[in-house]
Amino acid sequence: MNLRDVTVIEHVEVQGGYRLLVMDAPDIAAQVQPGQFIHLQIPDLRDALLRRPFSIYNAENNRLSVLYKGVGVGTRWMADLKPGDPLSVMGPLGHGFPIAEAGGYPVLVAGGYGMAALYIAARESRQKGTAFFGGASAGDILCVPEFEALGWEVRVTTEDGSLGMKGIVTDAMDEWLAQNRPEGEPEYFVCGPSGMLKAVGERAMKAGTKAWISLDNNMCCGVGACLTCVQKIRTADGAWEWQRACREGPVFECREVIWDGEESVEHRTSNIEHRTKS
């Protein structure tokens, strides 16, 4: 993990309000693992102090890039960043996606910026499987040519039917699973809204396969110090404990996660053990 003043190299609107921000950040870029994120300080935003977390889309040739959408005060301010501007970046942070199991069939499932968060995992995976991308409409479907260029089969769903199949991403997944028998057990890598994470997780649990899901819990420090981003995580003895999405996560296996409102098991109090994913 580093804290660096980096320089913006490129900043362009991709589509549908999503922007690509590319930074010159050699030492951070060199350490990035799939599914990790950076914590970015938005300059001159004096009354909104805290850093903002963004998944790392790509890290290559000393460059670090993120894909983001303007949703609030910080991300709207970021729209004004220009090449040459300095930015303070902390990262890479968190424990991301494991490498797909050999002999399995990797399946990516993404909504919104989730497509960006899965790009490095897609590149690093030796097997290339199927990627399901979902969004409200065509403008929310990002990076399809990039994933196809890596050798993935990309299947798109949009809620308004403006691109690909009409519906939600799990509809497309269900249909595909009913019609195809992938060579090897499906292993899911998921990033998107929590409804999507949950839905894919339920399917994986039912089928007895693994689903790695990336949580986007609200964050404050991003490094494990403040205990803002905690998630209830099942422990081996059947109880639960808090784990930090920013440190032990953001990626967890779906069986570990206890969602809000879920009938809860007994709490075991040991909240901040540093755990490394095997």
Partner: protein, 303 residues
């Protein structure tokens, strides 16, 4: 060059700038980025006797020039802390101040006694901003009588330097400062975060699961400066000032108001190097003003 070392109730610090409880974890979280030995002291997240779960989420919310928190003091308990975190902290040449709290007077006294024999603990900062669950009413930090009993009870059970951390939401901060001194406290620190809340107008729900929380960050700095000024005028023990420090200038205000040392909290989340940079800024300020040590600046407010 000016000497920025200070002595807080027997705790020798290389710089007058510590990191505030709850904003720096237990040390390892920022160790990749910050030379821990360069800090005045590390104050760890609040510890009580038994493991504690804390509040549900959302636990924090950003507000204008600050943030709200209602983390709920989750912690691994005394034994868990000593086992899991003290070995790491002992590796560094930096005073470790343990922030402690209790739900009852007995718990305050017990936690003080337990830490008395722990190797590597330089002192105890006492968080009194928590409700008394036994009596069911009042807070240790805002009821002067309960405050006195908590601190006096701890004093009997430990030889470690005791630093009561005063709550800001009291009508007369001087009486709390004096009471701390009368009970044998070695220093006082202030301020803890200020009770506050924020509402999401679309859902009409509070932004924190706990409904209310504590406000911290630059929004509370002027409030904290005033309280440090008043408290330090009432006692002879050293005062540690905190609340909204983002820059060395913010820290120097506290020192002029009467603080011997300061602590950086919320700013760590923005720039983890703040405490180191603030210490450098204080040193240069002393140099420029021909002052040989921090004590020459402490409490020099001209009115």
């Amino acid at each position: 060059m000016s000497d920025v070392s200070v002595n807080i109730g027997g705790i020798r610090m290389k710089t007058p700038v510590m990191v505030a409880s709850g904003t720096f974890g237990y040390g390892p979280e920022y160790a990749d980025l910050v030379d821990l030995s360069g800090l005045g002291a590390i104050v760890v997240k609040g510890i009580c006797v038994e493991p504690t779960l804390g509040n549900m989420t959302p636990r924090t919310a950003e507000t204008r020039s600050g943030m709200l928190n209602a983390i709920g003091l989750p912690n691994p308990g005394f034994e868990g802390f000593v086992e899991k975190h003290m070995p790491f902290l002992r590796q560094y040449d930096v005073p470790v101040i343990v922030n402690v709290w209790g739900r009852t007077l007995e718990e305050y006294a017990d936690i003080a006694e337990k830490f008395d024999s722990v190797d590597g603990v330089a002192g105890l900062e006492v968080n009194v901003s928590c409700p008394n669950i036994k009596e069911g009413s009042g807070l240790f930090g805002t009821d002067l009588n309960m405050f006195r009993q908590a601190i006096a009870g701890m004093r009997e059970r430990t030889r470690l330097p005791l630093i009561p951390k005063l709550a800001p939401n009291v009508s007369d901060i001087k009486s709390f400062a004096r009471t701390a001194e009368d009970c044998g406290a070695d220093a006082i620190s202030l301020i803890n975060s200020y009770p506050a809340m924020a509402i999401d107008i679309n859902t009409r729900r509070p932004k924190l699961a706990n409904v209310t929380g504590g406000l911290s960050g630059p929004a509370i700095h002027p409030i904290a400066v005033k309280l440090v000024w008043e408290a330090s005028s009432a006692v002879n023990i050293p005062v540690i000032g905190m609340g909204g420090i983002m820059t060395w200038e913010d820290a120097v205000e506290f020192i002029i108001a009467g603080a011997t040392a300061v602590a950086v909290g919320t700013a760590n989340f923005v720039n983890p190097l703040t405490a180191i940079e603030v210490a450098g800024g204080i040193r240069e300020f002393l140099d420029r003003n021909g002052m040989a040590s921090v004590s020459e600046l402490t409490g020099t407010l001209e009115t």
